[in-house]
């Protein structure tokens, strides 16, 4: 006597071959690793002083280029080793997180707010406002940002705000283009027409009726941009156009260790790994949020 349940269980499992490629995406699992990583990064950026064993700027020429603790010759005094000047890499990584995330936050805030405002206004108002805004967007996206940033650096020297401005300059255009497309769709909806008929002013319609509906798009787009911002910051720092030394940033740390990568790979390797992991986590989170919040948003953001 075999119970029904056991019989079902014993039956050979022939997975039905899927013929139809379903359009409905499977509910994606919550990306725990990426969320955990994002949390760690956030804590590092908010309270670096509590976590870092040393000051990120302390030079100690005797302890130059010590390997990380997990390698032969390394010690737990410097868990991730030291760089040319004997500065503790772990401390520089932790304080560098603050630099990188500050750039992400400020440029997203500036570029996102400007882009969202212009995009929404363009989509809602239409006419010449829309035409002018969208041409400005096209021009902004066509400009070679990195080269222009380098040109400015050549003249006025590197600075935090230059990185932010270069980033925000591209961001505003990306946000404006996407938000305009969204608002054009919402503008035609009945509840907007009703609000208009009820005599609501345009500002109220935009803020109270349209903004809540495009908020998801804003969140998803912002998350998807984080990786790009970190890579751009890294490239600019790598070229000497990032946040000026000795302030630690991941890209600048990679640049410092580049010449000695043959004899001490960790000086460049560990910050490069930090960049890659953080970009990876933000891309995964962005994709997950997009599937959850705004599945219509596909393609290159």
């Amino acid at each position: 006597m075999i119970s029904e349940r056991l019989r079902t269980w014993l039956r050979p499992r022939t997975a039905p071959r899927r013929r139809r490629r379903s359009a409905a995406p499977r509910p994606s699992r919550r990306p725990f690793l990426s969320l955990t990583w994002a949390l760690i990064i956030l804590v590092m950026a908010i309270v670096p002083g509590l976590l870092a064993p040393y000051s990120p700027l302390d030079i100690n020429p005797i302890a130059s280029r010590q390997p990380p603790a997990f390698m032969a010759g390394g010690s737990w005094a410097h868990p991730l080793g030291t760089d040319e000047d004997g500065r503790d890499l772990l401390s520089r990584i932790i304080f560098g997180t603050r630099t990188d995330l500050s750039i992400v936050a400020v440029s997203l805030l500036l570029g996102g707010a400007a882009g969202a405002s212009f995009g929404m206004l363009a989509g809602y108002a239409g006419g010449w406002i829309e035409a002018v805004t969208m041409r400005a967007v096209d021009v902004s996206l066509a400009l070679p940002t990195i080269l222009l940033a380098l040109t400015v650096v050549a003249v006025s020297g590197p600075s935090f705000w230059l990185v932010v401005l270069a980033t925000a300059f591209v961001l505003w255009a990306r946000f404006a283009r996407l938000l305009r497309g969204e608002v054009v769709v919402w503008r035609e909806r009945d509840f907007i027409t009703a609000a208009k008929a009820a005599g609501a002013p345009d500002s109220r319609i935009l803020v109270r009726h349209i903004l809540p509906n495009v908020l998801n798009t804003l969140i998803v787009l912002s998350t998807l941009q984080i990786g790009w911002i970190i890579i751009l910051e890294g490239s600019l720092s790598f070229l000497g156009a990032g946040v000026p030394a000795p302030t630690p940033s991941w890209g600048a740390m990679v640049a410092t260790g580049r010449d000695t990568v043959q004899i001490s790979w960790w000086v460049a390797g560990i910050p490069a790994l930090m960049i890659s992991l953080t970009v990876l986590a933000s891309n995964v989170l962005g994709d997950w949020l997009r599937d959850r919040l705004d599945p219509r948003l596909r393609g290159p953001a």
Partner: protein, 304 residues
């Protein structure tokens, strides 16, 4: 000539003009370019002579007009470090970058398209997971980091390929692969998602119901429509190549335009920087125009 074409041309000119103006403004942002160019030890008399020689004492609008005239006629003046006409230095460098970019683009398409298609066809299988895993990783590693990684492993450790310069054909491989890796990752993800959308369309079901082979359905029916979203990517591609090229050329010591711009900035060779940035930006803008025109030709729904 249609309105669409005219509007696109006008926009290209506007972009070019903005870039040129921006480069000029950047040079004059913080006062006199002579302060940037001249060393600290220059005497006031030398400084005055220099400023007069390069016309930096003229009113700003006149300098701007002269500069615009130079851009229009291709006369950018002499380089300070090389003491030769700037254009002579720029042109061979542009060709070196173009060779690298063309090879990178070729690798991107040859690898990216089959892999993206395979990931869509075998969705959810190991091929898909492997392709997407590699693509997401590829997009997460900035080119300056992957360049250092490739040099360390392939050149230093395995001693297979040269790490710098462009002496032989082997020197092309590493820099091109570095740029291509990042781009191919984008193509794979984009093509997979657009192919999945298309493969679900009604006309594909009909094609299958007619009894067409999977290969014909995929390449003749689905692929063409799936590549339409790719054109947005192609429109961005020259910008991406250039952004990658800046770091790649420096790491691999490639004598291209990007490394020239970088070294001109380090040496404070302002005329060279100005001209090289303007020329590069102009080429990108014109290439994008070319892509758009090609798009108009390829997509029958866009009428001329």
């Amino acid at each position: 000539m249609s309105r669409l074409l005219l509007a696109r041309l006008a926009q290209t000119l506007l972009t070019l003009f903005t870039t040129v103006t921006f480069v000029f403004a950047a040079g004059h942002l913080s006062g006199n370019p002579a302060d940037v160019i001249l060393p600290m030890t220059t005497t006031p008399a030398e400084r005055a002579a220099y400023i007069h020689l390069f016309g930096f004492d003229k009113p700003l609008y006149q300098q701007y007009a002269i500069y615009l005239g130079g851009v229009a006629t291709g006369n950018f003046g002499d380089s300070i470090t090389y003491r030769r006409p700037v254009l002579e230095i720029i042109i061979p460098r542009l060709f070196n970058t173009a060779k690298l970019a063309a090879l990178a683009l070729l690798i991107t398409l040859v690898v990216g398209i089959p892999v993206g298609a395979a990931a869509a066809v075998w969705r959810g299988r190991w091929v898909d997971h492997l392709a997407m895993g590699t693509a997401v990783t590829g997009q997460s590693i900035p080119t300056f980091a992957s360049a250092i990684l490739l040099i360390s492993v392939v050149s230093v450790w395995l001693r297979l390929l040269p790490a710098s310069g462009m002496e032989s054909w082997q020197s092309y491989i590493l820099p091109a692969v570095t740029i291509a890796w990042f781009m191919a990752a984008g193509i794979v993800r984009l093509l997979r998602s657009s192919l999945l959308d298309v493969l679900d369309a009604e006309y594909i079901k009909i094609a299958r119901a007619k009894g067409l082979s999977e290969a014909v359905v995929l390449w003749k029916h689905a692929f063409r429509n799936a590549t339409i979203p790719l054109t947005t990517f192609v429109g961005l591609i020259f910008g991406i190549i250039l952004t990658s090229a800046v770091t790649v050329e420096i790491v691999y010591n490639w004598p291209g335009i990007a490394s020239l711009i970088y070294s001109s900035i380090l040496h404070r060779d302002y005329p060279l920087t100005q001209a090289a940035v303007t020329a590069t930006a102009a080429i990108i803008v014109l290439l994008n125009l070319g892509v758009d025109l090609l798009y108009i030709v390829l997509d029958p729904r866009v009428h001329l």
